[in-house]
């Protein structure tokens, strides 16, 4: 393992404050290997990754997906081409993971490794080509959720960091932090129930679903607090208004990409998200 470095070679220092430096400055300073945590992926050329990787992390109910939708629209409006990635979206194993989750027969290491296969398939076959073409990649969760979920199930953190050592280091990582109680309210209002995995029921924490959810999400949150320090997340208050959170996100991303104006009003199609 390599020690954690400052979060981005580009715009932001490890303190998470925006910097005036533009995209051009970044490409000048980035050498091949610094875009990875440790050793780079085998057989991957990294020198020509001209796009940016922006990660939004947070539990279900943190407003993550809403923000990704809004950011996509905003960036495209600014003329940037956007590619997205997320969990279980790989062509290789995305559907297989859905099937595994439905069955309950899967054990923790197998599941963790299926998720990492899913991650690397997206990274190698979709995300790296997109970054080479200069696209902005918005990641709806990244390695951090995968590490946190496996770590609370007792898989060693060093083991997990060892696996993701060959992953690409994001240019910006935002963490939408919400209290488990708030996440519960939002998730319950959305789907009228709480999912088996989001409440960590495989861990036998409590037979009471609410208690199980709160305990599980609290464990995940503690892992994120640790990861946030280690990887220099930009922590945002996920309980604030959608428009307010979006404003902060846009400001940081704008400074990263050298976008001057950050005014944005969602289109009619997305207006319902704007609260």
């Amino acid at each position: 393992m390599t020690p954690p470095r400052s979060h981005s070679d580009a715009g932001a220092g490890s303190n998470g404050r925006p910097s005036k430096r533009s995209k051009a400055g970044k490409n000048g300073s980035a050498n091949g290997s610094s875009r990875f945590y440790g050793m780079p992926l085998p057989g991957v050329r990294t020198e020509d990754l001209s796009g940016s990787l922006i990660v939004v992390e947070g539990t279900d109910g943190s407003g993550r997906s809403t923000q990704i939708s809004l950011l996509t629209e905003w960036l495209e409006g600014e003329g940037f081409a956007v590619e997205t990635m997320g969990l279980r979206r790989s062509f290789l194993v995305g559907e297989d993971i859905d099937a595994l989750l439905a069955e309950n027969a899967v054990t923790r290491t197998t599941l963790a490794l299926m998720y990492s296969t899913d991650f690397f398939d997206q990274l190698e076959r979709r995300i790296l080509p997109a970054l080479r073409s200069g696209l902005i990649v918005l990641a709806d969760r990244y390695i951090f959720t995968l590490i946190a979920r496996a770590a609370v199930r007792g898989i060693g953190r060093d083991y997990l960091h060892g696996i993701y050592d060959i992953a690409l280091r994001p240019d910006l990582t935002f963490w939408l932090n919400v209290r488990p109680e708030v996440a519960f309210d939002r998730e319950f209002n959305k789907s009228q129930t709480i999912s088996y995995w989001e409440s960590g029921r495989d861990m036998s924490l409590s037979n009471d679903l609410f208690q199980s959810f709160i305990r599980y999400q609290s464990m995940i949150k503690r892992e994120f607090e640790y990861l946030s320090k280690r990887h220099g997340f930009i922590e945002l208050d996920g309980e604030a208004n959608v428009s307010k959170v979006n404003g902060v996100l846009r400001k940081r991303i704008a400074s990263q990409l050298g976008i001057r104006s950050t005014t944005y009003k969602p289109s009619h199609a997305l207006a319902h998200l704007w609260r």
């Binding site: 050793m39 992926l41 085998p42 057989g43 062509f91 290789l92 194993v93 297989d96 099937a99 595994l100 069955e103 027969a105 899967v106 054990t107 923790r108 290491t109 197998t110 963790a112 490794l113 299926m114 990492s116 296969t117 690397f120 398939d121 190698e124 076959r125 083991y159 060892g162 696996i163 050592d165 060959i166």
Partner: protein, 244 residues
């Protein structure tokens, strides 16, 4: 019969290394065979299994096959050639993890003698030949219990390759290492890929305390030796049928 290379003669095998076994947290034992395709390992393990079955020992045989949970993904990845060295390796690790957590570990804790046709060393050799970092691979598989004895069957490259090429109508894409772009000729690619794998195996003989077995020795003679070595290294009495 081909000549035996001096460094792989059976007589020169290092003494058993039991340090790993001493740390075991289970009453079972794990016996592994490794080696490139065509080295004779599966034949020998099959014969060993027969002998133990006849003796009524508490054994279980497991092989490097897709577990049902991961099978469809592996098949899709191979058929459509979607796999990179990294995803090839990860998917096989997921597959192995399933077998390990749901089969091998429970059996070891339940006091079985587990016979494994190929183990993590297959991944170490094959995936390193594909360009994955050996260090990364060791970490990836670090959840796997260390075998009590690993028989490494070694046959000269030509002998092994000819055994496979002769018996198989067509080598599969990944099996032949076609993804590495070594050669457009499958047989040629297979040969070079196997040679790389063989080199990685050879490097593990000392570090992983392999027991070298000469794959060119006559089958029944080699089996006799294998049984003898097993008796020396593993306390078979623990797995013997219980007396009434």
């Amino acid at each position: 019969m081909a000549t035996v290379t001096p460094e792989i003669s059976i007589a020169e095998n290092p003494l058993p290394e039991r340090a790993a076994a001493a740390k075991r947290a289970y009453p079972g034992a794990l016996v592994v065979v490794e080696g490139i395709d065509g080295s004779g390992k599966s034949t020998q393990l099959h014969l060993l299994k027969r002998w133990l079955e006849i003796g009524g020992y508490r054994i279980h045989f497991t092989e490097w096959n897709s577990s049902p949970l991961v099978k469809s993904a592996t098949r899709r990845g191979k058929q459509r050639r979607l796999l990179t060295p990294t995803t090839f390796s990860m998917l096989h690790a997921a597959d192995f993890a399933d077998r390990c957590e749901r089969q091998i570990l429970p059996l070891l804790h339940g006091g079985y003698l587990v016979l494994a046709d190929r183990y993590v060393y297959t991944a170490f050799a094959r995936d390193a030949a594909r360009g994955c970092s050996p260090h990364w691979l060791r970490n990836l598989y670090s959840f796997a219990p260390v075998p009590d004895i690993t028989f490494y069957f070694r046959a000269p490259l030509d002998v092994a390759v000819n055994r496979i090429v002769a018996g198989r109508p067509k080598l599969k894409y990944y099996e032949a290492g076609m993804d590495l772009g070594i050669s457009l000729d499958r047989a040629e690619s297979f040969r070079i890929f196997q040679e790389k794998i063989l080199n990685h195996y050879d490097q593990m003989v000392d570090t992983d305390h392999f027991v070298l077995m000469d794959g060119t020795v006559r089958v029944n003679k080699l089996q006799k030796l294998m049984r003898q070595l097993l008796v020396e290294r593993v306390d078979l009495k623990q797995f013997a049928p219980k007396k009434k």
